[in-house]
Symmetry: C2
Subunit: 336 residues, 2 copies
DNA sequence: TTGTATGCGTTATCAT
DNA sequence: ATGATAACGCATACAA
């Protein structure tokens, strides 16, 4: 490994001068600076991140927390999209990314400890169970954080506009003539509560009274459970004309159940999804859904986190809401 | 930040002793060891990974390289599954994961330099363009590596059994009576070459002669391109009875094209996919496909990499092939 | 403009 | 069994 000491010897200057030259300090002559840089390059010098972190108390390393509370964090389209864009933006800003988890090896650390152990300059928290004391501890710590889809008091967060998303979808199907709308939702997370509240509120605003049995709990990304709820809806004496699914993937579970009953989409039953994953637009008919702005969310998360890291004292926590967009698709029919 | 110095003061022993006690050295009395450990715990001590890495020349950090050659590395099911299991296994073994990329900030590093800069103890290379000189440099370096789905000479690799996978599928459809089999493949990577060769070989073994126009190039994970090739196949005077798609997602592009022609699957056309992503088994009809052993591949990759890291001199490079499994589904019909 | 000295937190060597 | 000391690679305050 070639170090600044090697360069200093090769150049006949002190290590301090080499360090300065390499970091573009002003108090070093242009000639020596160039000479140092050239020999550094020719020697194949690489700074040592560990040494730098130790000395400066800054690691240029961002922790990413994708807990698998809801099962298989990364592998869900929405989260992998976010991860991808957090990664891209962080790298653009000169930061590396490290996964933060509990239990590293036989050590049992919580998230905060793990982040400290790796001297993460900040952490992006996504896909987490925000009731988990370990998450709360991290978010309440001195480590800069940005949370996705949940906002802790006085902390920075990036929120997908769930309220607007559901409202948009409800109004969309309403305008197509639907009045009997069923809502299958995922586990009761903060996100789910917002979506459900928005559903109820928008329906109320539109003068729709939704019978309680139209609102049904299922599990995100689990086609089976949404299939079962679909079956239950079809068994009602008064069937809905349109079904909201917790997400695009769950819709597929509903679809196969509908087909079993000989119902075709959207002729006999209208449906909408949520997320707008690429798959949804490849299906025929194209799924009517709401595309969350995952890329923008990830990018903003990284941007704000770095800003917070680099300006700790002037930083003002903010909540940014990223709007998505309606993908009209063709799984909602015009009726009555 | 609480350091071993703090502990040494609180305990009235030297820093050296604290270090030994914490690392379970044998030359420290059980009593002191316990006392040190207890005060460490009560003070909330955490080791500093950077200092440790600097001193020991080991970072307990594994680099993961998901270059986006084919576009959006992580976000493809197959790769996110692998990533997830690499992550899980690495953490189990006490290693953290850091993404390796080119161009960190305004610095322009290649992969090797990036890995060095972060003192990665080893690197898992996946989803990469293995012709890229930067990849080749990394794989040829002194840094322990494990590649996925490609094997460099004298290096360790984990291979999905593409040959067997395609052969299994061909024999599967053959036994259902199909003789006119078309093969739409992805970009000409090493993986694709293996699959294509296996297709040709198996067909030959079965005495099938496949006309050249049955073999068509498309793009992985791009339903559109597979849709176009499907259209081309349907335009042939002698249509195939079964179409192989590059992957499960691409099949959807074919499906919509088939539906446009009023053909239904599998009644009028049989199809098979590749990958066995969860989606494929949720669709109706269930897609006939071959499920690659992504989880096992990721787990093995992490395991072998760590083994190699921890036994550098006794290490013998190995190529492990992970078999997948046929998911019969119901998109291949019995014919004549 | 350049160099000297010091310390970041840890582990390893060698005395005691 | 314990401790003093040095060293890992780097950046900085300060002296020259």
């Amino acid at each position: 490994m070639v170090t600044i000491t090697d360069i200093s010897k090769a150049c006949g200057v002190s290590r301090a001068t080499v360090s300065k030259a390499l970091n573009g300090a002003s108090d070093v002559s242009p000639e020596t600076a160039k000479r140092v840089r050239d020999t550094a390059a020719s020697l194949g010098y690489l700074p040592n991140a560990a040494a730098r972190a130790l000395k400066m108390g800054r690691s240029y390393n961002i922790g990413v927390l994708f807990s698998d509370a809801t099962g298989g964090g990364i592998s869900h389209e929405y989260f992998s999209r976010i991860l991808e864009s957090v990664k891209a933006e962080s790298e653009r800003l000169g930061y590396d990314i490290t996964f933060i988890s509990k239990d590293l090896g036989r050590q049992s650390m919580d998230y905060y400890e793990h982040a400290k152990y790796r001297s993460c300059d900040g952490v992006v928290i996504a896909s987490a169970d925000f009731q988990d004391p370990a998450i709360i501890r991290l978010a309440a710590s001195e480590i800069p954080t940005v949370t996705l889809d949940y906002s802790f008091d006085s902390r920075t967060s990036i929120l997908s506009d769930n309220v607007r998303g559901v409202e948009t979808l409800v109004r969309f199907v309403y305008e197509k003539g639907h009045r009997k709308i069923a809502f299958i939702h995922g586990e009761m997370t903060a996100v789910t509560q917002k979506r459900l509240a928005s559903f109820r509120k928008t329906c109320a605003e539109l003068g729709l009274s939704i019978p309680p049995e139209y609102i049904r709990p299922a599990i995100y990304h689990d086609p089976r459970s949404s299939g079962l709820e679909t079956r239950a809806l079809l068994a009602l004496s008064e069937r809905p004309t349109c079904i909201f699914y917790p997400d695009d993937l769950s819709f597929l579970g509903g679809l196969s159940e509908l087909e079993k009953h000989g119902l075709s989409v959207p002729k006999d039953m209208s449906v909408v999804g949520y997320d707008g994953i690429p798959l949804s637009q490849v299906l025929r008919p194209r799924l009517s859904t709401y595309r969350q702005g995952g890329e923008r969310m990830g990018k903003e998360a990284a941007r704000l986190l770095v800003e917070q890291i680099e300006n700790p004292d002037t930083w003002i926590p903010q909540q940014i809401t990223v709007e998505g967009e309606l993908l009209p698709g063709s799984t909602v029919s015009e009726i009555g």
